[in-house]
């Protein structure tokens, strides 16, 4: 009798999961991280492709993604293709999606060979959101660059056809003979990723601001809709911060991915849409102070240009009015461009300069590199504030 009682008490104090010990992650598919109203401008090439259905009634992008995801065999979690039930709590609260943050196409013209140098840029993330704790527990960004040459200027329909091929059958890699599609890397990422569920607190980008000196360089299509661009920059920063520092975040916006696609994976359609984004415990505000382009060296063969991005980063706890960092950062990229290239796309260069800045910042929090610190901001206070942010990252884990 005593033995039976002892074992029962033991189970009550130390609850044992009788079901499988692997963490379940529910698959939500492909989506857009931005807002619904921005999709026709922000992802104008991909958006129409989501309406093309295959013989099974599923859109061609989702079908291609599903093939890649089904090949994955992650070691720390199990991908579940059924619906989740939020009432089962933490057991069925994590949903995963592959989202497109941003895509862009630009072309530069080489007048001697009369060739158009085309480039398609696509920025994706694999995101894991926990609807019980309301945290973005993982965000793994990856991006794709597709340079190719044509003798004529491409129209939108031709560009879309190229992107469609990239999503579905794939294109030849520049690095080797392999054929890669938009989701070829997803299998590898998922297999190598260790999912961590428990995080103490959350940080989040709460504000993105474009100052006067940056607005003049923003392309017209984004000037009309700065909210879209704000989300792009917020995602650019937060995905890198999350990836390199293993912290949980509050997304800048729910957008279509979290607000619609992921929530649709729950059976509880009566309550799931009531779950709102929480306030972050620590706020991050990004000010894009300006951009600058300088012609450093000119010759008949090549011109050397610098493109610089200037940012202010403010990381603080609003209730305590405690600031961890409020510093200006800069990054400069240098490129040698053949002299005969016309219509150089400056915006893409500024974007990459910012991308590298955010990536470098996130990496250097844990292991500050003196050279990087000096070239980003050579003040003493910046080096000290990096240490403050490092302590903050530890607190968030």
């Amino acid at each position: 009798m005593k033995k039976v009682t002892f074992y029962l008490i033991f189970f009550l104090i130390f609850p044992i999961k009788i079901i499988a010990s692997e963490k379940k992650v529910f698959y939500a598919g492909f989506s857009f991280s931005g807002n619904y109203i921005d999709k026709t401008s922000g992802i104008k090439y991909t958006d129409p492709l989501t309406n093309i259905k295959n013989e099974n009634g599923i859109d061609i992008i989702s079908s291609s993604l599903l093939k890649s995801v089904k090949k994955a065999n992650p070691s720390s979690f199990k991908i579940d293709y059924n619906f989740a039930d939020i009432e089962k709590g933490l057991e069925e609260s994590v949903v995963m999606a592959v989202v497109l943050d941003h895509e862009d196409f630009f072309t530069e013209y080489e007048s001697i060979t009369k060739t158009y140098l085309n480039n398609i840029q696509m920025f994706f993330q694999i995101i894991f959101y926990d609807f019980k704790s309301r945290k973005l527990i993982a965000s793994i960004p990856y991006d794709v660059s597709m340079p190719f040459f044509t003798k004529k200027e491409l129209n939108e329909s031709e560009i879309r056809e190229y992107i469609k091929t990239f999503y579905t059958t794939g294109l030849k890699s520049l690095d080797n003979d392999k054929t890669l599609n938009a989701f070829s890397i997803v299998e590898e990422i998922l297999n190598n990723f260790v999912l961590k569920e428990k995080y103490k607190f959350r940080a989040g980008v709460t504000k993105v601001n474009f100052e006067e000196k940056s607005i003049q360089f923003i392309p017209e299509k984004f000037k009309k809709n700065q909210n879209y661009l704000k989300n792009v920059f917020a995602q650019l920063f937060s995905s890198r911060l999350s990836l390199h520092n293993d912290i949980a975040l509050v997304p800048y916006t729910e957008g279509m991915a979290i607000g619609a696609k992921m929530k649709q994976q729950f059976v509880n359609s009566d309550i799931i849409y009531d779950i709102e984004l929480p306030k972050p415990d620590f706020n991050i505000e990004i000010s894009v102070r300006g951009f600058k382009k300088v012609l450093a060296k000119k010759s008949d063969v090549n011109n050397i240009f610098f493109w610089a991005s200037f940012i202010n980063l403010n990381i603080f706890q609003p209730d305590l009015d405690k600031t961890f960092m409020n510093d200006n950062l800069k990054n400069v990229i240098k490129k040698s461009i053949p002299a005969q290239i016309e219509n150089i796309n400056d915006w893409y260069k500024f974007y990459i300069a910012t991308y590298e800045l955010f990536d470098g910042y996130s990496l250097n929090i844990n292991n500050p590199n003196k050279e990087w610190i000096n070239k980003t901001n050579d003040s003493d206070i910046f080096a000290k504030n990096i240490q403050n942010v490092k302590k903050l990252m530890e607190k968030l884990k």
Binding site: V4, F11, I37, D270, Y273, Q317, D319
Partner: protein, 367 residues
Amino acid sequence: MSKIFKFSSILISLIFFNFHVLAFEENGKGTVDLANYTSFEENKNEIIKDAKVLACKNALQKYVSTFSIDKKKNFEKIKSKVNDNYNQYMVCDSVIDENLDVGENKFTILMKANIDENKIDQALVEVSAIANAGADEVSDIVILMFSAKTKSIKQKDDKVTKVDQTTKSVDVEQTEASKEGETQISSETTETNVTTTGGNTVSSSEVITYEVTDIYNESIEAGMVEILNTAGFELIDGGDLDLEEQIETMKVDYGEQGKLSKAVQKSIKKNIASEEISFYVQGIFKIGSQEVDSATGMKMVNVSVVSAKMMHKREGKKFWKTVATVAGNQRKGKGTTYDEAINNAVRLCSQSVAKQMVQKLNAKGIK
């Protein structure tokens, strides 16, 4: 053996019973004046402990500030109990951050609190008059609430009137005011003739008619019943009360006039009273137009309460009285289809109506 079996059953049921806990997350701030202590270093643990208590209570205070006026009034009855035993109503043990302000000689701590809403609601119910009524005092209630969808919108043409005027002026002698305050003006006479000089336009607003429906009644009941049950009411199905004719008249009245006629109200009251039921709720939810949520692309609908009244007839009294009125509540519902969005919005709206009504009743001490 049987005692152990009973004990084991309870333990096993506790292991597998699924508690659905509603938690309200809030950050609380607690500031301690270091002048009250010898020094920070010497009294560090005590200072942190005191600051934590203040922070957790601050989180509770912030939660209470989200209450409606009636709920706050009810909370006053249990405020001391909850404040003194706050740990039983929340989990408040995560330190978000702390700050030692040497200049101000203050120490501040920020805590994350997860407040158990169920426990607080339960404590509120326990002190309510209606929940404390005896078993033989359980109050029956009938819900007569409907939803209204836009049926038609008549846009009248603006009414334009052309007024033809010919004026004849007759000047009277102008006299300047000789004393302060005196004023004399010219008069003129006008005669209306048939010539064109001007006109006016009377703009008409839309005339909207509604289709009152009961297809969302399940969602209305789903939203209201649980809250009313917890508050000590038991729902009586309106269909059991021989009110079909009155219900149809109600729908027509609401749809065309936006209100009930006196006659049908009297008839309803008489019928309900004859069944010895002392409470009923009547009202309308207005279903807004179908929209698409700009962030997520989901279908979205806004539902608002046009009017919702709880009527009560005290035993021995002749007349029914309005004991709670709720109007203006609005809730949005989302879904993959508009029907789903409407059901979600109606349910949320009816929940908010029921909560407010119960709070008003408790505040008045009605049972």
